[in-house]
């Protein structure tokens, strides 16, 4: 009996030994970046078998909290960290964190494919999402109510959209909170009066609306050229945050992400490289 137990324990250790000697990197955070993060991890692990990278989503807010709570090495975020979050990080670890911009993303607004709308101004998007415009009729569409879809409040996309498009105002109380970008896309694709927002990489099955800065300018679609040139008004950076200046295996990983290989993965997934 005792010998069987000893054998079992030894067997477990043997199986886990290669894993124990490996360097493990935990990555948590943005759902917008989760597919990108997984592709990075897979490609990197294939080339460097001595490193294991664990990737989870949960939203930018979740990732930043995990960084502050000390449960992750790298945190993906689709919005910059707030001063209050940096203060908390400083309280616990003595440093305000290091911000690394890794990709560019255009936030797009999309409507159902059956919706005749093609372009919107930033002010109109703001009025729609704060509830001031509540019918498609005011935008030249059919006489139907606008059904708002958005993200949960732990999402970086939610915060970024609120700060940069709604100018800090709160969303309308009737905006339905979906758990991820794909869920927003799914909801809008099934609801002919729906409108949603999200990262450009997830826009399949619905139609992205061209955005213009104000009523008199040209409306731009969220394409590679428009985002890189800065014409598309709602562009943001996708960040990775670490507690201290990267060193060792983490530095190698981040350098790889910022290098040619990592940036080519960014283009493949549908975001836009930073260079």
């Amino acid at each position: 009996m005792k010998s069987i137990l000893a054998l079992l324990v030894f067997g477990c250790v043997l199986v886990n030994a290669p894993l124990l000697s490996q360097e493990k990197i935990t990555v948590k955070g943005s759902d917008t970046m989760v597919i990108l993060a997984q592709r990075w991890a897979e490609k990197y692990m294939a080339a460097h078998p001595d490193v294991t990278i664990q990737v989870t989503g949960g939203g930018s807010g979740t990732g930043i909290s995990a960084l502050i709570n000390g449960t992750t090495d790298l945190c993906n975020s689709s919005r910059p960290m707030k001063p209050s979050e940096r203060d908390k990080l400083k309280q616990r670890f003595g440093s305000r964190g290091v911000e690394i911009a890794t990709a560019q993303d255009g936030l797009s607004a999309y409507v159902n494919q059956g919706n005749p709308l093609t372009e919107l101004s930033l002010q109109q998007v703001k009025d729609i999402y704060t509830g001031k415009i509540s019918s498609w009729k005011a935008l030249g569409g059919p006489d139907a109510p606008i059904i708002l879809y958005g993200r949960e409040n732990n999402s970086g996309t939610y915060v970024y959209f609120r700060d940069n498009v709604l100018m800090g105002e709160d969303y309308s109380a009737s905006m339905q909170s979906m758990p991820g970008t794909a869920a927003v896309v799914n909801a809008v694709s099934k609801d002919k009066n729906g409108i949603g927002y999200g990262g450009a990489a997830y826009g399949a099955g619905i139609r992205e609306v061209k955005i213009k800065k104000d009523a008199g300018s040209v409306a731009y679609a969220p394409t590679v050229e428009n985002i890189k040139s800065g014409n598309y008004p709602v562009t943001r950076f996708l960040y990775i945050y670490v507690k201290n200046k990267p060193s060792g295996k983490i530095k190698e990983y981040i350098d790889w992400i910022l290098g040619d290989e990592g940036q080519s993965v960014v283009s493949q997934v549908g975001y836009f490289p930073i260079r």
Binding site: T62, R96, A101, A173, S174, M175, Q176, K190, G194, G230
Partner: protein, 393 residues
């Protein structure tokens, strides 16, 4: 001379003289003494030695200890969870007011890899259109006033933790679920216990109990992908994801619970009642509805309460199917945000010790208290009264 009862009985030997009668009376009454002096336990023990005392057995002693410890561990776990949840929720009542977060003087953010980005980064991140600095402290209202407000906006320039829309949302969905599931399950239980032939009863009961085995996330997913579009096409209402859809999906999860308990209650109705009713000329339907169902009312009521409790705490179904919009309204066709879905969606993003964290624990405490009070009231007060009424107490 007193009449001697022994002399009256047939077969008793007749005394030869009066003196003998007196003598035999005394000795006879003595030997026929019906009540001997009671022996004390001590006397009995002394008489029979140590055989009366329970013999100490190791296996019995150990099993008693183990069972006692396990029972106390479960009790301790319940009390422990109770204490922990309330302890984490307490700090909000000790904070005098909730201030909007104050803007800190912006220190330069340390970056890495910026040299490679060039102009683009500086252009976008230095954009003057964004307003990421938090609003400077607006007058902090009292904590209680904040909680009894009607807006739930915890991640905002001016955080508001009004829980009223969440409570109303939970109650709406739960009531809908029980109103749909209750009649369906009780009628199914009635059918299974009174009308179904034996072969079909043996198929029906397990089949409905299999429905209980469905993971609620699967039901929620099914509601989101299939039911939502179906119901919107059928009824043509405005919001695709709403409280009605949540209620319908939840009823799928609640039906097996109500069915099982109600069916047991109906089967436990004494046979003489049904037989008496049928003998008096009532039809099967009249017997089932007017004799069996009233007799089983305490059990059916308990079933409904169990279903209510289950529906109140359900998270995944409402998270996926109700749209999670914190709107305060009594319209069943509008999206709702329940307390359980709020905790489920937001717990991961809060920093431990934050006000938001404490508020979420308070929601958990409210959920717990609600179901606890409901079950206690039902169990102690209503069920006992109903039991007394129907069993003729």
């Amino acid at each position: 001379m007193v009449a001697d009862p022994q002399q009256v009985l047939p077969g008793t030997p007749l005394p030869h003289s009066t003196a003998q009668v007196g003598h035999s009376f005394t000795s006879a009454s003595r030997s026929a003494d019906i009540r001997p002096d009671p022996l004390t336990v001590g006397e009995m023990k002394r008489m029979r030695g140590a055989d009366l005392k329970k013999r100490f057995r190791w296996d019995e002693f150990l099993s008693e200890i183990i069972i006692t410890v396990v029972a106390f561990v479960s009790l301790a776990a319940i009390v422990g969870i109770f204490v922990f949840v309330f302890r984490e929720a307490m700090p909000i009542f000790l904070v005098p007011s909730i201030d909007a977060t104050v803007a800190a003087p912006p220190e330069a953010q340390e970056t890495y890899g910026n040299e490679q980005i060039g102009d683009a980064a500086r252009r976008v991140s230095g954009s003057d259109r964004s307003r990421t600095a938090e609003g400077s402290g607006s007058e902090g209202e009292s904590t209680l006033a904040n909680f009894l407000g009607t807006t739930w906006a915890p991640v905002s320039m001016d955080p508001r933790y009004g829980i009223i829309p969440l409570v109303v949302g939970s109650i709406k969905v739960t009531l809908l679920a029980v109103c749909i599931a209750g009649p369906v399950a009780i009628l199914a239980a009635l059918f299974t216990s009174s009308f179904a032939p034996r072969w079909s009863k043996e198929i029906l009961k397990p089949a409905i109990e299999i429905l209980a085995g469905f993971p609620s996330v699967v039901i929620g997913f099914f509601a989101l992908v299939v039911l939502a579009t179906l119901l919107q096409d059928l009824f043509g209402y405005k919001f695709r994801l709403n409280a009605f859809l949540g209620g319908v999906a939840m009823s799928l999860a609640v039906i097996p619970i109500i069915f099982t308990v109600a069916e047991d209650a109906l089967a436990a109705v004494p046979k003489f009642m049904t037989e008496a009713s049928l003998a008096l000329g009532a039809t099967k339907w009249q017997t089932a509805l007017f004799v069996k169902l009233p007799a089983a009312t305490p059990g059916v009521f308990a079933a409904l309460l169990l279903g209510f409790g289950r529906a109140f705490g359900e998270t995944m179904i409402v998270l996926m199917a109700t749209g999670n919009a914190a709107m305060l309204s009594f319209n069943m066709l509008e999206p709702v945000r329940t307390m359980s879905a709020t905790i489920g969606a937001e717990m991961a993003e809060v920093v431990f010790g934050d006000t938001h964290y404490n508020v979420l624990f308070m929601l958990g405490a409210i959920l717990f208290l609600f179901t606890f009070v409901l079950n206690a009231v039902a169990e102690v007060f209503i069920r006992q009264r109903l039991l007394k009424r129907f069993r003729g107490g």
